[in-house]
Point group: C2
Chain length 255, copies 2
Amino acid sequence: MGGVLVIWLLLFAGAVELSLGISHEIHLLRPQLGSSGHHVPGLSCLSWRLGVEAHNIIEWSTVPQACESYVGHYMLGHQYRKDSRAVVYEALTYAQSLKLAVDGKDIWVFDVDETSPSNLPYYAKHGFRVEAYNSTQFNNWVYEGKAPALPESLKLYKKLLSLGIKAVFITGRPEAQRNVTAANLRNVGYHTWEKLILKGSSAGTIVVYKSNERKKLKKSGYRIIDNIGDQWSDILGTNTENRTFKLSNPMYYIS
Amino acid sequence: MGGVLVIWLLLFAGAVELSLGISHEIHLLRPQLGSSGHHVPGLSCLSWRLGVEAHNIIEWSTVPQACESYVGHYMLGHQYRKDSRAVVYEALTYAQSLKLAVDGKDIWVFDVDETSPSNLPYYAKHGFRVEAYNSTQFNNWVYEGKAPALPESLKLYKKLLSLGIKAVFITGRPEAQRNVTAANLRNVGYHTWEKLILKGSSAGTIVVYKSNERKKLKKSGYRIIDNIGDQWSDILGTNTENRTFKLSNPMYYIS
């Protein structure tokens, strides 16, 4: 292995298998000072991740190489799930505090990738995006339609439905992926929605695209109760309404 | 001590003494299962702090009691300083990437408390805001004028000045504290500024007050390069311009 110590993280693989429905996967995390790990002096991966989540660190293209192992352990370990749970707890507490009209016009906007279904099984095999984005490989994964639900988001989705709030999915996935996306969502528990909005040929950033779609929803008479996403571009921009919720994602940044 | 195990964290006290100029202080952190610590099932203090920094958890009044020890160790330990360093690194990288006119009209807006000077010596004695805010006690501390500089912010301040960017401080402190605030800033290394703006009798939230003050600055011909603060209310609102930077503060929330 050329001096590279390969660590088979059976423990982590097992934890993910239980909770995100991945089977027959052995996740390979390269050691911090192995092939991935030229040392970056002074870089605290924890500070980097906090900087990403607090929107201090923006427009980055790949995870710092020295943080591959850190990000991998975070995503496959307990803390990512605890962090997701804390976000969903806040979101649900907020939703339950509202006086809703229950007239079918209250909607909650969900992002898709890394919010509703999770592509973690894919990213676990591709260095948690320490590797540059490969659209062919990623689209092959998408067309398999096997992305598991992020359990915390699915819980939120179900509880919102029980409150009479409808789900609208707005995703940067292209229109060509409508069928596989719909099937994947249904297969993992997101059985119904008011709209599933995919990105057509519209130019511009995700912030602009999503802002425009929210504007259209409001013009159609919907009331946006809230937005949840793993990217700042899911929740910045206009027509976001009162509250927004940001799930963790230290793997990639979309502007 | 009534069954409460008191821990004298000499190590942490020493670390703060070195870096934040606090002497003759012994910081007392209560153990998580002692007087402060009824156990809150399922609460991850790390997730709580992340939720605060990512603006998922808002309008909270005090640190959860179970997180007093966690927040105390964070604030007095290395991670708070590493996190501050990472924010300042990003801010400085951004500032250095700009083509500046160097005509004296480029300004950088700094918040005061927990951004430029730090009241950590005060909060370390008051349970890191697991206790409710006591304005009399806090104002007594302010009038002592002894808040040390947050070293990372002072470094940013100095480098910005060397780039030809001027500092404007906008603070929620009242006008009555102008002299002591100015003296405190100067004493710890913030020797000069274009404006020091304190909150007069204007009603409304800090978001509105700071947005209005930024608007006035722009009308006066200044170009706001950036904002830095430890509260979301320092950087949300209008006229924030291109980038904003959020320093950590898990001790209190100001809307």
